[in-house]
Symmetry: C2
Subunit: 306 residues, 2 copies
């Protein structure tokens, strides 16, 4: 089956949203952006053997590559609209492509984004790149650079679950809570929309809470004190791994796609769905504290998979 | 050097065009599209060992991956504005990345497109994906689907040169005309802009003249008679390969990134910079003719590199 048949069979379907003039099948896609809105564009790649194990189900790969991009859209406070796909395939069979496409469209449908174009190529391993265009009201996008000393640091959800889930997958095990957090991450789109114009800075946690909070602090020219005991842990991760390893996953594990954001202290009332875990300082680093004690965290960066 | 340093050192520079609110460095890029214009988005991937030889100079890889995408923008009649890059690197050293970035920005500067974001990952071979957003006046984009029986078929430039150049590279040879046509393809952006609203259908020649004209005909529900002797050949290709092989390269060689387009017979006066090579028919296939004789062309698809 050549590229043309592949695209026609698995990646072409009736466009379901407004604004798309020409979708999959021409040299490019054509659409109309919404007057008065700014555009947000993100691009993210998953490489087989680096970001996911080779034996991961194709539908999960398709779902994940959309979800991780939508997480970036969420971190900008935008609404996702259109996406394009660049898919490099190895010797995967047609069933693999069909499953990948099913997962990709499931994520698209879950979050209201439309596939408008793409490119398929051959390679040694699967390399899946998705580009998403979102829209946000002019001037309301969430940046990494707006945190100020005194702002409160928040996290959505329970970080660490995805990394713990990946460790189960690597051990050939399964469960009903942690593994799905890795396989089918939920981009925090609704939360991002609420935060647009409210949060002072925002980043999505893909490399680990401490690592990504550090990036936010660097972009803002500030530091942060992180209260380790305040970081919310899921019951599942504590039961399965114990509190100490759970905290380690939560601080350094990636792939969560929760939002870490900052807001002025007074904004607290509106943010009950998130957890306050620290405060922005005039320093230039993230310090993890447990009471008066400083906790040493290896934030050298999360190994997504190896 | 980690991803963050890599992006900061080689892929971040001052934004030079209007409309970019936030460029490289945050979770996504933010920009403002031009009121009244439709957007065109394209995405294209080059895989090491498939679309280019491993020993191709990194600067040429960087230039090419931008140029092939801009060719799709040209084929839509749009003006390029913004681009994002997803770069999967193997064990390439820093010098390779620096050279790649230099080539990428050279192409960007040559054609007025701004890098606004990207993602770098690790893999076994280089996989470079570029996504370009362009703008076109509402309703004037060039599609593949508008060709009508009686329309004249045109080609820009001299097709076949790039494939001939690639064959020289594969033989370890060089020249001053054909090899540069492969290494530094020139997207026909100015021509595309002139054609917007004039041509009835358009496609860029990446897989070969006959193969891509066939796609245009399929999209338009028509056929075409192609006059083989009318296809323009460069002096360089005829001198180097003789007329017969030159015609073969011109009909089946890819990587040219010339525009193949159709226009009503009366539009001829405005299109002196292109060459009329055939006519659209009521059939359903592309027939290559030399006088009264039908020429059999193997249009099974061009092998970009192997």
């Amino acid at each position: 089956m050549d590229e043309f048949d592949l695209i026609r069979r698995y990646f072409t379907r009736r466009v379901r949203t407004d604004g798309v003039v020409v979708g999959v099948g021409d040299d490019g896609a054509i659409f109309e952006s919404t007057p008065g809105m700014q555009q947000v564009q993100v691009i993210d790649t998953l490489v087989e053997g680096v970001h996911f194990p080779s034996n991961l189900h194709a539908a999960d790969v398709g779902y994940r590559v959309v979800a991780v991009n939508l997480s970036d859209i969420a971190a900008m406070g935008a609404r996702p609209r259109w996406m394009t796909l660049a898919l490099t395939l190895s010797d995967k069979d047609e069933q693999w492509v069909e499953d990948f496409a099913r997962g990709l469209f499931a994520a698209a449908d879950d979050h209201g984004v439309e596939l408008v174009g793409g490119d398929t190529t051959r390679g040694d391993v699967v390399v899946a790149t998705v580009h998403v265009t979102g829209e946000v009201e002019a001037g309301r996008a969430l940046l990494r650079s707006g945190a100020r000393a005194g702002d409160v640091v928040y996290i959505t959800g329970t970080p660490g679950d995805a990394a713990a889930g990946l460790s189960l997958i690597e051990d050939g095990r399964h469960d009903d809570h942690l593994v799905p957090r890795f396989l089918r991450p939920v981009p925090r789109l609704a939360e991002g929309r609420v935060l647009a114009g409210v949060a002072s800075a925002c980043i999505d946690v893909s490399d680990g809470l401490v690592a990504d909070l550090t990036k936010l602090c660097e972009a803002s020219g500030v530091g942060a004190d992180l209260d380790v005991d305040a970081v919310p842990l899921s019951d599942a991760i504590v039961e399965r791994f114990g509190r100490d390893r759970a905290v380690d996953f939560a601080l350094t594990g990636g792939d969560d796609y929760e939002l870490c954001f900052t807001a002025p202290a007074g904004a607290n009332d509106h943010l009950a769905w998130a957890t306050a875990i620290g405060v922005i300082t005039t320093g230039n680093a993230v310090t993890c504290r447990r009471g008066d004690e400083i906790v040493d965290v290896d934030d050298a960066g999360y190994r997504h998979f190896a």
